[in-house]
Symmetry: C2
Subunit: 327 residues, 2 copies
């Protein structure tokens, strides 16, 4: 991290000052650089990280069709109306089938409004080898350092990357819609359990009560893994049609933050988040190194696996020893 | 791998001989040991690995409700009727909502039949930190070494672990059911793309044609990532009700294998599989080491992250250097 890196950082350090001064252009540029994942960016991100730790990070997840996007728009406005600065980091699904324009309307809205107290950013998903979680959390760091009070992370709640991202939030909101069926519920199960707050959207629909009952039943069975113990996980009914429930949701989000702070759970929560992030980052470094050695050591070990001179476990050990992880 | 390990291996080496002799009890015990993931098991699994490489490994995936389980039962019987020995490794979902008894009936069936040419094993999912993919592929090795001609790996196609498992197969079959809706399709998208063979189940239903058309349309758009290029991915309609399509499915599975062998794609496929498996194993070793150091180095680094003395990237680097990966 000496020598050439130090030289390259000079413009970034200027950029950091502008990020800290909440310059929207600088924030966007810093996030783009973080997203590209180049090593040149590391010293700047290290500086950014020093200035983090004040924002309330809220993960909001729900499958496509859950009404999550509409809710996000209204929640963002509600938070802003309280005078707080709010940022949204939205994780677009990588699938070519679902498209990536979910946030389009809201981005235009906020741009038109010209309100510097709202910032919305869609993250493009990257290759199958990951990097999305790292890039998204770096983006959250940038927004935290820029002084946003609340940072909402929106995901569709599918895949390990997304679970990793949601688990980096202080407060996790899971949005369910009535009538999505048991199949979807099963798929979502892994993420339902980590909710600090449940939202049942589209509560103007007649079958909404069943979904609310199901969720409450699930919690009665003790199937809640909310990070904070002694926090009674609420189930909030919302309706975009009737404009209901958004203020209750914001109230619950604020109550959860107050609970974390007063109960001492926030420190534990921060440790859990830091621990997971360190592991995930180490995994990403491993994958990067794997790519670097792909035509060299990796290729040799693959040949040896195929000829049975080695086996997957021994090859993985050899690879880890070779990679050494210095630098 | 010397000294104490060599001593501990003695009983395992006997077990290996019995696995190679297709002793059902020995196979089950070896898989159980592999599942437990103890280091004592490594030398035996290394021996097992040397005897692998003959079986045709077929991954079959589809969301709950896709009719996959019924199809699996019929396919297993069909393969056995051709005189080949067939094994099934079924990955149970870890969710408490979906239960784990999917295979119950079939296990009882095969046990009653007393046919040593069929072996069915459910893998229990383990903690959130993974290990399932590793254990499942070790189980496949055991069955390969035991001389099973075809090994079917069944997953519900949700989560990174499951994608990893399916990607370890030579042939990937993705089962879709009509009427599961666009939401599910979006969720499954990541796995739809890796199909070598598509199956549309429940084709007695009137809306099946739309699903078939959708899948064919997807492939026309070039959205197929089937490992083997120049392989025309078929879409096969099956109906458990009318007992249709299973023989066509088996025919396609056999054709894909023949294609891989004659086109030279099999060698490339095996390299891809070995490479991915090495990386996944290295990641698991990293996670194991992380757990080992949790109260030591990890805890120190977490404290430093929280006080901003370090940042996630630097901490991950430090951790990797500390872990060193020897032994």
């Amino acid at each position: 991290m000496k020598g050439p890196d130090a030289v390259r950082t000079v413009p970034s350090l200027d950029l950091i000052d502008r990020v800290a001064a909440a310059d929207i252009g600088a924030i966007a540029r810093m996030i783009t650089r973080a997203e590209a994942g180049q090593n040149e960016c590391r010293p700047a991100l290290a500086e950014i990280y020093k200035r983090t730790g004040r924002a309330h990070i809220v993960g909001i997840t729900g499958v496509p069709g859950s009404g999550k996007s509409t809710l996000m728009g209204k929640l963002t406005s509600s938070i802003r109306e309280t005078g707080r600065k709010v940022a949204v980091v939205a994780i677009d699904p990588s699938s070519p089938f679902s498209g990536g324009a979910i946030l389009g309307d809201r981005i235009r809205m906020s741009e038109l409004a010209g309100d510097k107290g709202i910032f919305i950013r869609s993250m493009a998903t990257r290759g199958a080898l990951g990097g999305l979680a790292r890039a998204s959390l770096d983006a959250v760091d940038v927004l935290d350092a820029a002084g946003f009070d609340v940072i909402l992370i929106e995901t569709v709640g599918v895949g390990q990357d997304e679970v990793d991202i949601v688990q980096a939030a202080h407060t996790t909101v899971v949005v369910s819609a009535p009538g999505l069926g048991d199949d979807i519920q099963a798929i979502k199960a892994g993420i339902l359990e980590i909710a600090d707050i449940h939202v049942v959207s589209k509560c103007d629909r007649p079958d909404a009560n069943r979904t609310i009952t199901d969720l409450k039943g699930m919690m009665t069975l003790g199937l809640s893994l909310s990070g904070a113990t002694n926090w009674p996980v609420p189930v909030i009914a919302t309706s975009a049609l009737k404009l209901e429930g958004v203020s209750e949701l914001l109230q619950s989000i604020d109550q959860h933050w107050a609970f974390l702070e007063t109960s001492g759970e926030l420190d534990k929560q921060k440790k859990r988040i830091a621990e997971r992030r360190m592991l995930k980052t180490a995994e990403e470094i491993l994958r990067d190194k794997f790519q670097e050695h792909r035509d060299g050591k990796v290729s040799t070990l693959v040949e040896q696996m195929i000829t049975h001179e080695t086996n997957p476990y021994a090859a993985a050990k050899d690879l880890l020893a070779e990679i050494r992880m210095e630098k």
